[in-house]
Symmetry: C2
């Protein structure tokens, strides 16, 4: 990767409101979450996952995601999305005209059974149906693969398996394909190999990466993917998403660190880093804890 003179765009999706808040012991109100979404839009973020549509008894932090959607002032050109875990959630998203949905399936059979109660095979055919239905319903769709770089239960996940899952998802014509390093087990070599193989199969411009910093490699993995042609990443303000009970336990890549690094390397994110620091500081007050700081 060489220093370029013209800037090239990199798309940053903020996922803190979902992948971050769902781990926090303090549950934010609908109004607080809507305020955060609007502040993130003000900061220049053009892709925001506002939450997930999931049984509130299972994940109380995500209760009222539909109300967050109703409450926010919608801005032109922003891709608001929700994560849906089942057909019920998907139908709700479509009924509410949420413009973009994300559907994930795990590359690990064991993780799939523990996470969703379904085998990989069952979960995959359900995901393919959901992607089809979402496309038919007029929504943009991210079809994602969890544990794409390894699983705590099964260890390594083969590239072949990920390619097969992506091929199956592709038949339902999602807008983009996402790979999630759910366990933080990826390293830059693995990322590059996987992205190059997937780039050949579907085009790297349709690929997005959801990377965790569990082992301190989040940013290194982002840059390896960037070198291999990926231009879309999930990040979270303050690196939300780690275990809040372990000080310093890393979650997602921090949005402010990613924005700063990308802008320094002459990529254009459209995001104002200074605004993010204010949002992080507001979040620290709301959650009563210190977040990752650059």
């Amino acid at each position: 990767m060489n220093r370029r003179t013209a800037t090239e765009a990199v798309h940053i999706q903020e996922v803190g409101l979902r992948d971050g808040l769902q781990n926090e012991p303090i549950v934010l109100t609908v109004r607080e979450r809507a305020g955060l979404v609007e502040a993130l839009v003000q900061a220049g973020l053009k892709r925001i996952q506002i939450g997930s549509l999931v049984n509130p008894r299972r994940v109380p932090q995500m209760a009222g995601t539909d109300q967050v959607w109703k409450m926010i002032r919608k801005s032109q050109g922003v891709r608001y999305s929700v994560l849906v875990l089942n057909e019920r959630g998907l139908e709700q998203a479509l009924a509410e005209w949420i413009p973009h949905v994300e559907v994930y399936v795990s590359a690990s059979d064991t993780h799939s059974r523990k996470n969703s109660g379904a085998s990989l095979k069952q979960a995959l055919s359900s995901a393919v149906r959901m992607v089809s239905r979402a496309v038919e319903g007029g929504a943009g769709v991210t079809a994602g693969v969890m544990c794409a770089f390894g699983c705590y239960y099964e260890g390594g996940v083969s590239q072949e398996r990920v390619l097969e899952i992506v091929a199956a998802l592709e038949e339902a014509h999602p807008t983009e394909i996402a790979l999630a390093d759910t366990t933080g087990m990826a390293d830059p070599v693995a990322v590059k190999r996987m992205v190059e193989a997937l780039g050949k199969a579907i085009g790297s411009e349709r690929l997005s990466l959801h990377l965790h910093d569990t082992r301190g490699l989040g940013m290194a993995n982002l840059i390896a993917a960037l070198e291999a042609g990926v231009r879309s990443f999930d990040t979270s303000v303050g690196g939300l998403g780690g275990c809040p009970f372990i000080p310093g336990a890393a979650g997602n890549i921090s949005t402010e660190a990613a924005v700063e690094a990308l802008e320094n390397m002459r990529f254009s994110t459209g995001v104002a880093a200074g605004e993010l620091l204010r949002i992080r500081s507001d979040l620290e007050k709301l959650l009563g804890r210190t977040l990752w700081r650059t």
Copy 2:
């Protein structure tokens, strides 16, 4: 960088005892520090900076570095080193037969004046003299450049300036050249450019990098340097070296994260990651605070 089948060695120098402890409000005793050095050797580290020889009134945490050296059981094949800031410290190191010394000069004139009270030019000629004297005295020498990737006071530092400084240091025949990202301002693009230029000038195998994770890019920078041929890095257990009063403020790259990542990428560090976790846990007890955790 492709996945390799045979393992290639990467040299990790532990600098926590110097660059870490010098920032801590709790001062460890000579015996505690000597115990840490021995534990690090047990964990497989072959390069350990045991402290700096500096006025104890200026840096009380480093008082008695010579006694740490006297107290430890010396192990064959381990490169014990000290940082020396002036000729007095250097003479002490040589008198004590400390086998390896490190001499640094700042690439920023402003930083040099604030840090050492000498202009870049003065500090450089003094550093060249010290390197010569150390070589003559039979010690191995790392000649390093601080702020090689930028300075808080001056902003960017040009590649030309760094190459000039290195060329001057090279005339005194140091064992290796180190570049320090003292302020954490490097990014992978800048690292690659600098390492490629320096590799041409002196050979990348004689180059070592001292990277900080101030902005979350430490590991990404390490990997960029690795791709450009560097095989020697400074790291610290628990990422010691950040500001202890700001929770989550990053210091050096954490040794345990670097070892784990390198081993996963099939590089051989010779270090047992599990042992490092025990040392980190001991350090947390000694320092009364939580350190970076993978």
